[in-house]
């Protein structure tokens, strides 16, 4: 919330509270994405992606070590 001051015709300064949308987006995007990320991890786990990762990770990755 920032204060934005403006002159009107009578010369009186009016202080208007201004909602800073970019600040709200910046501060809320992080927690929101954390929740989305956690949900995606669970969804991926339940559809069997974790099994694919496990099956690859428990074998020596020939490509990683430069053989395959």
């Amino acid at each position: 919330m920032t204060i934005n001051s403006r002159n009107n015709n009578s010369g009186v300064i009016i202080l208007k509270p201004k909602v800073n949308l970019s600040k709200i987006l910046l501060t809320s995007a992080g927690p929101l994405l954390c929740i989305i990320g956690a949900a995606a991890v669970m969804f991926g786990h339940f559809r069997g992606e974790a099994g694919v990762v496990l099956s690859k990770a428990i074998m020596v990755c020939m490509e990683c070590i430069g053989i395959g």
Partner: protein, 332 residues
């Protein structure tokens, strides 16, 4: 390559360290900068995530259930001690499999970690980051701080992520619809250092299989090692696809840096100590920031703080740089 790295033992320059700025703000005493706590944290994390000792003794890898969980940093899952999976390797395994063409599991993990702490992972939780940090401590007459083409070259990591981690494993498949992990196969020096060399040393049958590809990867590793002595973290700056992903979250992550412009005296101490060549006064959550914390330590007026969302070291007093700038243009 035109500029050299001058090692900063102290934060503020001698000229203004104890004196006053033209604006009249008094600068406190110079601070000593120590990276020991960070290196200890990096070493502890590396030891914990690579604590399968039997693997190192017998020349084999851990095969338990924990391997399905990704670790946040670049940590090859074929390292004999690795307890978890490398997210980049896991991503290529899933998108390159015939069953899935998108990985919610790995993308979700990267989103969760990135949105939580951003590139804090690079600075504090990556074993290969520690490796490069230690290599850069090797004395050399002319360390290179920056060079012509440094900034455009940093975009290369995004290209590598898109091409070698996503597109090639997804579309360049065999008859069964399976793609190879092309980044691991053709580029990644982490696999050579953490898995290839230890496994080949411990396992004679594997040693017999090593051919051109291993020599190619060894050359990449040697180049990375030599460059790491000259340049601070060349792999992280130009190549690392994991750093590329986390960098996208730096600005919005829950954990972030803040600059209190009312305290900042523009002495330049923070940008001088930054080894990633960032000016925190312009953007303290730059995509290139690995959140090592040197700028915070260097700041003579404690204008830089960090913390979670509304937290920070001095909560409530510091503002986001992005929030302060629009106020300057407000009509009066």
């Amino acid at each position: 390559m035109d500029k050299t790295d001058k090692t900063n033992k102290t934060a503020a320059s001698p000229k203004n360290a104890e004196g006053k700025k033209p604006g009249g703000k008094k600068i406190p005493k110079r601070k000593k900068l120590s990276e020991a706590p960070r290196h200890i944290a990096q070493a502890v994390w590396t030891a914990v995530t690579n604590s399968y000792v039997a693997g190192f003794l017998k020349g084999r890898i851990y095969q338990g259930e924990l391997k399905k969980i990704c670790v946040p940093g670049m940590n090859c899952y074929s390292c004999p001690g690795a307890l978890g999976s490398c997210p980049i390797g896991a991503m290529q395994a899933v998108v390159g499999s015939s069953g899935f063409k998108f990985s919610y599991y790995v993308v979700g993990f990267l989103t969760l970690i990135g949105a939580l702490i951003g590139r804090f992972v690079c600075g504090w939780l990556c074993p290969f980051g520690l490796f490069q940090d230690l290599l850069h401590k090797i004395p050399f007459p002319k360390k290179i701080k920056t060079f012509r083409g440094d900034k455009p070259l940093r975009l290369l990591k995004y290209v590598i992520f898109a091409v070698f981690v996503i597109l090639l494993p997804m579309f360049l498949t065999n008859d069964f619809g399976n793609g190879s992990p092309y980044f691991c196969k053709l580029i990644c020096p982490v696999g050579t250092a953490m898995a290839g060399i230890p496994l080949l040393m411990l396992n004679e049958s594997m040693r017999a299989l090593a051919g051109f590809l291993f020599r190619w990867k060894l050359v990449i590793l040697i180049i990375t090692v030599l460059l790491s002595i000259l340049i601070y973290r060349p792999f992280c700056k130009y190549i690392c696809p994991l750093g590329a992903v986390y960098s996208l979250f730096n600005r919005i992550s829950v954990f972030k840096y803040r600059l209190d412009e009312t305290k900042c005296i523009s002495c330049g101490a923070c940008s001088r100590v930054c080894k990633m060549n960032i000016d925190p006064t312009k953007n303290c959550n730059s995509p290139e920031c690995i959140r090592c914390g040197l700028c915070k330590k260097a700041c003579p007026t404690d204008a830089i703080t960090y913390g979670f969302i509304s937290g920070g070291v001095k909560a409530g007093k510091s503002k986001l740089v992005e929030d302060i700038k629009p106020d300057k243009t407000a009509e009066t």
